[in-house]
């Protein structure tokens, strides 16, 4: 097994980035317009990188599959963005943000990268405010903060429940300005379908114009992938419908190692599946766990009666309810981290206590009734009413909840047609974020020289579990404050290269490869839809590579996906033509890559004989069902090298994680 070179600079952790930056090579302004850079994806990382590189004077081409760069899925992030500003004077610092992120990731992230992330976090807020991002403010006109899970300070900046939207629109305004100035050429409704390597270096991409179907060659001196996560391998997730792994996976097939694919974040509070025709799951913000209590019935017969519609949750007496998080984790209660809360819900539903009348009985209650009464009383007392009636208490309490969570309650009601002020919300965990991704070094460069990967698409900062409000921070840190420096250093070697010709045989080979695959799908004489296969893949992934994993399930998953993949290529039916807008073809190309990734995820989960963060191996738990990490044997990043269609041949490389500044400890929430 080879040793991966993470290129971590020498020196004290707090000085590494500053010293390193001072010695990186530069490209002079007069040389920059001669250099082409491709950026794929226009979410926070991609739009930020494309705008920044365009401002510097590079000749940037940006690509997104949506109809506008403003649609990227960063837009859906709700809660906020962390930054170590210490505006609240509660002892926050760069070190504490660094520490919280490493610990939150269950000690499976790279120290130097995470420290840099914490260092630049404050600059992100300054930059966004300068762009006109309307963050929430206090009455004095200064920025407001709130707290999030896994921390003891208030460092989360927010814009109501739409922080991702506001940050993305800020980055979109920056990239729009560069498009208007001619520094960035924007290719909307284009999907990258292959990475082109010339002499071992990334020198371009093959992209499909989704409107005309034309297969296009685009060359550049460097290629930056900011293409998001791979949660849609499960079919149902909180990801956007178009979110996919294709760009990252094509890079993987061209030599970029893929790291920690088994690290998936499953978010505990989502609206449960309602039926087999469902295409997408919706998140209910983590902040609701501040006020809601999670429970299922204590008696199986009550759970069954609820599922059959013979009983209402409000009819179940207090002593017949199992507040299982409060029972198992008295110290943290309903506010345990995401991975812990999700597993506990699954445990109850697997045992037959689920309350949702869907095919899988997956659902638990998130109940606000206690909070409504408590806040109602408090509000009445504050107003001087020390003897409020039950009616007054309920009225005031509901008003309090509405002020705090009104938009979320409304969204829940629109989707489920139930009133969460009167009856508890039904929730269940759903796939939300992927910590794994393309392996990158300190420069965010993959194992293919000239191919950089940023944002959720890389693996670098969140270890085995991401803390809330850290995804937005990482995307913008990578795009605004890391890539402009490290990519320039790389491009300094290319000032004499000249334009890369798209007539090179490597472009032709890649283009033919893409065309062959497309024509294979369109001429396939199958009878089943792409979604049919995607749903079956998702079913295997959710049941066997989901919240609880074990040797038997993972081994089965690998062979079941292999069989499914074979059937997919034989039996899939893709209607329409290659030279037109063809959403079924787009899906087929994406699902083909999800099939391979799914197998690799199972293999990765199988080799990691420990439980850590979002990766829970049932064999590695203590008597009370808590995770057992194995720091002696698994303190490494698992980076996979592609070795052909048979994923069983993929080779594992290990990057050992050295903790020099943080002492490794166990996580305990009891």
């Amino acid at each position: 097994m080879s040793i991966l070179d993470s290129k971590i600079p020498e020196g004290h952790i707090s000085k590494k980035w500053t010293d390193y930056k001072d010695h990186l090579r530069l490209v002079a302004p007069n040389n920059r317009p001669k250099i082409d850079v491709i950026v794929v994806g226009t979410g926070l990382a991609g739009a930020a990188a494309a705008a920044s590189l365009g401002e510097m004077g590079y000749n940037v081409k940006a690509f997104c599959f949506q109809d506008s760069p403003r649609r990227a899925h960063s837009i859906a992030a709700q809660g906020g963005i962390n930054a170590a500003k210490n505006y609240q004077n509660d002892g926050d610092s760069i070190y504490r943000l660094f520490y919280d992120t490493i610990k939150g990731g269950d000690y499976r992230a790279r120290e130097a990268n995470v420290h840099r992330l914490a260092e630049v976090s404050g600059n992100i807020i300054d930059q966004c405010v300068a762009q006109g991002v309307p963050f929430a403010r206090e009455y004095g006109g200064l920025l407001d903060n709130r707290s999030f899970g896994g921390t003891q300070v208030q460092r989360t900046f927010y814009a109501a429940g739409q922080t991702g939207q506001q940050l993305l629109l800020g980055a979109y305004s920056a990239i729009s300005r560069q498009i208007g100035l001619g520094n960035v050429q924007m290719y909307n409704r284009h999907e990258m379908l292959d990475l082109v390597k010339v002499d071992g270096k990334a020198r371009g991409i093959i992209a499909r114009n989704l409107i005309t179907g034309e297969i296009e060659r685009h060359s550049a001196h460097a290629v930056i992938l900011c293409t998001g996560g791979y949660g849609n391998v499960y079919f149902l997730s909180t990801n956007a419908m178009g979110s996919n792994v294709t760009a990252a996976w094509k890079a993987h097939k061209r030599g970029a190692y893929f790291a920690n694919p088994c690290y998936v974040q499953i978010h505990p509070t989502c609206i449960p599946v309602h039926g087999t025709n469902q295409s997408k799951l919706t998140l209910m913000s983590e902040s609701l766990r501040n006020s809601g209590r999670i429970w299922v019935p204590k008696k199986k017969e009550d759970a069954q009666a609820i599922r059959e519609g013979k009983m209402k949750p409000t009819e179940i007496a207090e002593e017949d309810r199992d507040y299982y998080l409060e029972r198992r984790y008295p110290a943290f209660g309903n506010l345990v981290p995401r991975d812990v809360a999700s597993r506990a819900a699954k445990e109850r539903c697997d045992a037959g206590f689920g309350i949702e009348a869907n095919d899988t009985m997956e659902g638990v209650y998130l109940d606000f009734s206690a909070e409504i009464i408590s806040k109602g009383k408090q509000t009445a007392y504050t107003a001087g009413n020390h003897n409020p009636s039950q009616e007054e208490i309920l009225k005031l309490g509901k008003k309090w909840v509405e002020e705090k969570y009104g938009n979320l309650f409304q969204m829940y009601e629109k989707i489920t047609d139930e009133n969460p002020y009167e009856t508890p919300m039904k929730i269940y965990p759903a796939v939300h974020y992927t910590m794994g991704g393309v392996w990158v070094d300190y420069n965010l460069q993959s194992t293919v020289p000239g191919c950089f990967v940023a944002g959720e698409a890389n693996f670098s900062d969140h270890g085995a579990n991401r803390l809330g409000a850290s995804a937005l921070m990482q995307g913008l840190a990578d795009g605004y404050f890391v890539l402009p420096y490290t990519v320039s250093d790389y491009l300094a070697g290319d000032i004499r290269t000249g334009k890369i010709s798209t007539d090179l045989p490597e472009f032709e080979e890649a283009e033919n490869h893409v065309k062959d695959l497309i024509s294979k799908f369109l001429t396939n004489n199958g009878s089943k839809t792409v979604d049919h296969f995607h749903k079956r893949l998702g079913h295997i992934m959710w049941n066997k590579v989901g919240m609880g994993r074990n040797v038997q399930g993972l081994t089965e998953a690998i062979s079941e996906i292999a069989a499914l993949r074979e059937e997919f290529y034989k039996e899939v039916y893709v209607p329409g033509d290659a030279n037109e807008l063809n959403p079924e073809l787009e899906k087929a190309l994406r699902v083909a890559d999800f099939m391979e990734l799914g197998q690799l995820m199972a293999r990765d989960a199988l080799q990691r004989n420990e439980s850590c963060g979002g990766h829970f191996r049932e064999e590695y738990q203590d008597a009370e069902g808590e995770t057992l990490r194995d720091d002696e044997n698994f303190n490494f990043v698992g980076a996979w090298e592609y070795k052909g269609m048979d994923i069983n041949q993929s080779e594992l490389h290990k990057e050992v994680l050295n903790y020099e500044y943080i002492k490794i400890a166990a996580r305990n929430y009891k």
């Binding site: 899925h73 859906a76 300054d126 930059q127 206090e138 729009s176 909307n188 997408k280 998140l283 979604d531």
Partner: protein, 254 residues
């Protein structure tokens, strides 16, 4: 939830591409769960079409939680359908009756040409943003500390409300003149309300309005349909503010 199913008839606009002539086609779809979203219903119809070897209906969609602005659809004569303050992806089938006939059309506006079926080209919106929907600040993270300029909560909240526009185009589709005033004024307002945006306010409003006119959007005649159908409830006040900003800029320019 009381899950039940309905059978529906659909009249859907089909158009092969931008150059071809489209027409309304009729489809029948049974066993639609009332818990399904409108787009899940279309997924179900497409599954049925593909299984019977017919071409599925192309429609735009992505996040399916009402924030990306990708989904559109003119449903029974209303942008994003009969419900209020929702996008099509948040509209649910319980809003429709068993046996009902539902009409589904693309956004109709000169500046939004149909690409295929229900998919339209909204790149005109991007070009308006590129003409001035930004603050001219380069990446550095060092312009000044984020708290250096206090901004009153009222202004900050108003700027935020304007900034919640998702750029879906429902305002244009709902307007009898196909005017983009609500969309453009939301961005103009957001930046005009904040000190960061005030430096370039005059040039911005002139450039954005010029681009809006060049794209072929109609004029505003204050019918207010845009604000009624807007899934994010963007206020007409923004149009009034943009008119003031524009007038100010015109006077200053002369």
């Amino acid at each position: 939830m009381a899950s039940k199913t309905i059978n529906i008839n659909l009249k859907i606009w089909r158009q092969k591409n931008v150059n071809s002539k489209g027409s309304m086609e009729t489809y029948k779809l049974d066993n639609v769960s009332t818990d399904s979203s409108f787009l899940e219903m279309l997924d179900q119809l497409n599954e049925q079409l593909v299984n019977s070897r017919q071409e599925p209906i192309a429609f735009d969609h992505d996040c399916r939680e009402g924030i990306c602005g990708m989904c559109s659809l003119y449903i029974n004569g209303e942008a994003h359908g009969p419900d209020r303050a929702v996008t099509t992806c948040q509209l649910h089938m319980r809003k429709f009756k068993d046996g009902e006939t539902i009409y589904v059309e693309p956004w109709r506006a000169k500046a939004f040409p149909v690409i295929k079926d229900l998919v339209v080209d909204r790149s005109a919106f991007d070009r308006i943003q590129q003409a001035g929907g930004f603050v001219s600040v380069n990446t550095s993270g060092r312009t000044m500390d984020a708290n250096a300029i206090p901004i009153g909560k009222a202004e900050a909240d108003k700027a935020f409300e304007a900034a919640t526009c998702i750029g879906c185009g429902a305002c244009v589709a709902s307007c009898k003149n196909a005017s983009a005033m609500l969309f453009v004024s939301a961005k103009v307002s957001q930046l005009a309300l904040l000190p960061q945006g005030q430096v370039e306010a005059q040039q911005r409003v002139l450039n954005m309005v010029k681009q809006m006119d060049e794209e072929g959007f109609g004029n505003c005649t204050n019918t207010g349909a845009c604000a009624v159908e807007c899934p994010k409830e963007i206020s007409l006040e923004n149009i009034a503010r943009m008119n003031r900003e524009y007038l100010k800029a015109m006077v200053a320019a002369d």
